[in-house]
């Protein structure tokens, strides 16, 4: 079937197998390998993308559902110029990245949080990231990164 949607800010149109997982479609066919697969069951958040402003597990979404949506993957996240987005900068500066496999998903979930709530409390941060597993960092520096990102974004505005 034909799906038309916005991908990382650009209007696109593809002929897709409707029951293909969005994660596979993006990775295998579009070369967008930023979203990762770690469980395939909606349990880990490594495959997180943003669909109409919400964080979605792309391993549970079917290609047919893309039609008409506004979709963002980590590849679309950028700051002014070709610089990193302030959230990405904050992850780097806070030391929130170890193996990096959870990172794209963490960053996307953080984006959704801060878009809706520019000054989250610790509890709100935890709530927003509860669907994203990280086995390396113990989450401490990820929380710091989100707080730092919130500050950076406020500074920008």
């Amino acid at each position: 079937m034909i799906v038309e949607f916005t991908l990382n800010g650009e209007k696109v149109k593809y002929d897709v197998r409707p029951d293909k997982r969005v994660l596979d479609f993006f990775r295998d066919e579009l070369g967008l390998t930023g979203p990762k697969e770690a469980c395939g069951e909606g349990e880990c958040g490594a495959c997180t993308i943003i669909v109409d402003g919400l964080n979605v597990h792309s391993c549970l979404m079917l290609a047919a559902e893309l039609d008409g949506k506004d979709v963002w993957t980590i590849e679309g996240l950028k700051g002014p110029g070709e610089k990193l987005h302030p959230i990405q900068e904050a992850f780097v500066e806070a030391g929130a990245i170890q193996c990096g496999f959870c990172t794209p998903g963490m960053v996307m979930s953080t984006k959704v949080l801060l878009d809706n709530n520019p000054s989250p409390t610790r509890e709100e941060i935890k709530k927003a990231l509860e669907g994203n597993l990280c086995r390396c960092t113990g989450y401490y520096k990820i929380i710091e990164a989100v707080e730092l990102a919130a500050e950076k974004l406020k500074g920008d505005g």
């Binding site: 596979d24 990775r27 295998d28 070369g31 967008l32 390998t33 930023g34 979203p35 990762k36 697969e37 770690a38 469980c39 395939g40 069951e41 349990e43 880990c44 490594a46 993957t73 980590i74 590849e75 996240l77 990193l84 990405q88 992850f91 780097v92 500066e93 030391g95 990245i97 170890q98 193996c99 990096g100 496999f101 959870c102 990172t103 794209p104 960053v107 941060i125 935890k126 990231l129 509860e130 994203n132 597993l133 990280c134 086995r135 390396c136 960092t137 113990g138 989450y139 401490y140 520096k141 990820i142 929380i143």
Partner: protein, 767 residues
């Protein structure tokens, strides 16, 4: 020679990870992110029976699925059908007529045009297996009636005999005994296993994938394909966590993929889904242990006698070397005159455990620390004081009678946790909480551990590493090491060392993905050895290159070598103040045809070790740590939460303090999952908890509100700048500290980990 003390510019400073940017913008390439032209996708066919004889493999229906390229079985292996590294007991693909020994035994590899087709076809393959009764517990295995392997289920026994334990017990005032069990733990690295094997332009095979030990992979693929090492090139992709789980396992994954690549003549990609990963890959070993400790009434340890049994599962894999670490660490970080330890490796029809952060030590450290806590309670001696009284110091002898002469930070770590936790006050605070709460009780747990750095006496033939450092004409630097980055920060530490030694900016240094074509066999990236081994090798190569640059500098400026300083991208004559940028200097050096590449090679002096008695220098050096944990147990539900924790680690020298903090935080949380709720459940040898919905790892909600980290620096003279390892010791004290804290909270001894709510409730109800 350079006599001016060069101030450290990079080592010990706050540095951004060198690999952070590609990881944060999604460009980093992990195994599954690689795609090749005409690639086939693979899926494995598992035995799915615990014990039996494989009678037949019917592949017809699978071959009929459109898009299937081939189904490969034992008949299609050109070389040895053998994967076992230490003991040759594990087939690559189980042969017809041979035994299936556990649920996850691999029988065939399906190759197809897409992943979905490969999986669908794999499900259509039917296996005829004549079932045998399975050995599912250590107790059953010890009966030795049903055998997993002939001639015995208990093929490995390691021991320590120091002093005379009977005498020691005779001279003790009190004798304590206890029996403990530590369960499996799944590494649960977020990136599953994955390998791509491609036939290459060099008439051999290039292997890409997520791994800790490229040289193990190279050996295994060469053996299975009956080819030579110079026809197999292994390149590590970005590796999404490993924790030991990618030590030996990627050799197996690569061997299956290699069989497909060999038979199809096409690149073969084998990425595990989480279920395959959990059903077939290594775990932390379950260990049952029995302790007997004799003490004087003042609390001095006189004798310890330990028997431990570890479940090796269906194949020995790394167990014999894991057992060595269990053996050496079983008596803890204490100076005890009489020690007797026996560790047995036992075959069962279950998943073969292997390496996992701590490598066979957290299980016994939990036990010995529970014993220490028991002694402290019964003799009414403060738990920190009891440990201070018995711990290792300079001049002490370890359980293997290793005389320690330097870099023993044990006492400092104990003193520091007492201070940072505000110990007296903390105890009062918890007491006050317990006086005002009925349904919830808090407890304080202490633990104290040591960790033998690197492979030690059992693996000293592997304890050497290389590093190739090359300066390019534009002043950039390539560093190639044999040690791998798996998230722990190896690339950053190596780049820091190269930057420090060369005086170049860290941004100009590229630490490449390990590639067996560039660096000679450097042993495995395990045992927290990368900083010491790859670090020293890099330091040797880079300092050699620096000497050459200093010569060029002196030629150009007339400076005396001893007055030359380097750092921040330039060289300086401290006398005249003349300076030349690194780039400029390199340009001059190139014009003179100077050799600007060097291979460093680092090995340690051999260790004296008597394997019969288990006596001698077990490891090159030891790291130490102490921890205090406060837990809160809900007496109605058995649920435990960690309220706060204080931890102190002797790392020799903190080369990258930020990196160390990150390691300790991650290690703590992983250790906490092990202590409390990561629970592998089985039915007839099949793992029931084979994804993250059933195998629960810590989420962001479970971490303690406060985790205070203290770093002790007791330099190790042979480490780079004094450094020892931190990767594993970051996790090791935690299960013990948490178990002790729960014991204090509920007034019953925790003797099993994970201490799940069901187990805690059962203890509370017992009288």
């Amino acid at each position: 020679m350079n006599t001016v003390e060069n101030k450290k510019n990079v080592i010990g400073s706050k540095i951004k990870r060198v690999d952070a940017i590609p990881k944060v913008n999604g460009k980093a390439k992990f195994a599954a992110d690689l795609y090749f032209d005409r690639m086939v996708y693979c899926y494995l066919v598992l035995a799915r029976k615990g014990h039996g004889i494989l009678k037949d493999i019917d592949v017809e229906k699978a071959l009929d699925v459109p898009g299937v390229v081939g189904v490969y079985t034992y008949k299609d292996i050109p070389g040895e059908n053998q994967l076992g590294e230490v003991v040759k007991d594990m087939p690559c693909l189980v042969s017809v007529g041979e035994k299936v020994r556990y649920y996850g035994d691999v029988v065939a590899v399906v190759a197809a045009e897409t992943y979905e087709i490969a999986k669908e076809a794999a499900e259509k393959i039917s296996l005829e297996i004549e079932e045998l009764p399975a050995v599912l517990t250590i107790e059953k295995a010890l009966e030795d009636k049903i055998r997993v392997h002939e001639p015995t289920n208990v093929p490995i026994h390691k021991k320590i005999r120091k002093g005379n334990v009977e005498d020691g017990f005779k001279h003790s005032d009190e004798i304590f005994e206890g029996e403990f069990y530590a369960h499996y733990q799944e590494q649960a690295y977020l990136e599953p296993q994955g390998i791509i094997v491609t036939p290459d332009i060099d008439y051999g095979f290039t292997v890409y994938g997520t791994m800790q030990c490229p040289y193990y992979v190279q050996n295994s693929v060469a053996r299975v394909l009956a080819t030579s090492l110079n026809r197999v090139r292994v390149i590590q992709t970005e590796t999404g966590g490993a924790f030991g789980g990618k030590e030996d396992v990627p050799s197996y994954v690569a061997s299956y993929a290699a069989v497909a690549a060999y038979n199809t003549g096409r690149p073969a990609k084998l990425i595990y889904d989480r279920e395959t990963d959990i059903q077939t890959t290594s775990k932390r070993h379950p260990i049952k242990s029995h302790y007997r400790i004799g003490v004087s009434k003042e609390g001095k340890l006189r004798a310890v006698e330990i028997k431990a049994y570890m479940d090796m599962g269906a194949y020995a894999t790394l167990s014999p070397i894991v057992m060595f670490r269990t053996l050496v660490h079983a008596a803890g970080s204490y100076d005890i005159p009489n020690v007797k330890v026996d560790v047995y490796g036992v075959y069962t029809n279950k998943i073969p455990p292997g390496a996992f952060r701590g490598f066979g030590s957290p299980q016994v450290l939990f036990a010995v620390e529970a014993m220490m806590d028991e002694i402290s309670e019964k003799l009414s001696i403060d738990p920190i004081k009891l440990r201070l009284m018995n711990t290792l110091r300079e001049g002490s002898r370890t359980a293997t009678d290793h005389l320690l002469t330097e870099s023993v930070g044990a006492v400092k770590t104990l003193e520091n946790i007492r201070e940072i936790s505000n110990w007296e006050h903390l105890n009062k605070e918890v007491e006050a909480f317990n006086n005002t709460h009925q349904d919830k009780k808090r407890g304080i747990g202490v633990s104290h551990i040591f960790y033998g750095v690197s492979l030690g006496a059992a693996g000293q033939h592997l304890d050497a590493s290389g590093s190739h450092v090359q300066i390019n004409a534009d002043g950039t630097v390539d560093v190639r090491i044999g040690g791998t980055e798996m998230g722990q920060g190896a690339k950053t530490v190596i780049a820091m060392i190269a930057a420090e030694e060369l005086g170049q900016h860290i941004e100009k240094i590229n630490v490449h993905q390990p590639d067996t074509a560039f660096v000679p066999d450097s042993g495995p990236t395990v045992a927290s050895r990368t900083t010491v081994y790859s670090g020293n090798a890099t330091r040797l190569a880079a300092s050699e290159l620096r000497q050459r640059l200093i010569d060029v500098f002196c030629n150009l400026t007339g400076a005396l070598a001893e007055n030359v300083q380097w750092g921040n991208g330039k060289f300086l004559d401290s006398l005249s103040g003349q300076e030349i940028s690194f780039e400029n200097l390199v340009e001059h050096a190139f014009r003179k045809n100077a050799k600007l590449n060097e291979t460093g090679w680092y090995k340690t002096a051999s260790l004296e070790w008597d394997a019969e008695k288990g006596i001698g220098e077990a490891y090159v050096t030891y790291s130490f740590a102490s921890q205090i944990v406060v837990v809160e147990v809900n007496l109605n539900t058995g649920q435990t939460k960690v309220v706060k924790a204080y931890t102190s680690h002797d790392v020799g020298k903190a080369l990258n303090p930020e990196g160390i903090i990150g390691q300790v935080q991650g290690g703590f949380v992983q250790g906490m999952g092990y202590a409390l709720f990561e629970d592998l459940k089985f039915k007839n040898g099949q793992i029931l908890t084979d994804n993250f919905n059933t195998y629960i790892i810590p989420t962001i909600h479970e971490i303690p509100e406060e985790l205070i980290i203290d770093i002790v620096e007791e330099p190790f003279s042979r480490g780079p700048y004094g450094a020892k390892g931190i990767g594993e010791p970051s996790l090791m004290p935690t299960p013990a500290a948490i178990a002790n804290a729960i014991s204090r909270a509920i007034g019953k001894r925790i003797k099993r980990i994970p201490a799940t709510p069901e187990y805690i409730l059962k203890l509370i109800k017992e009288d």
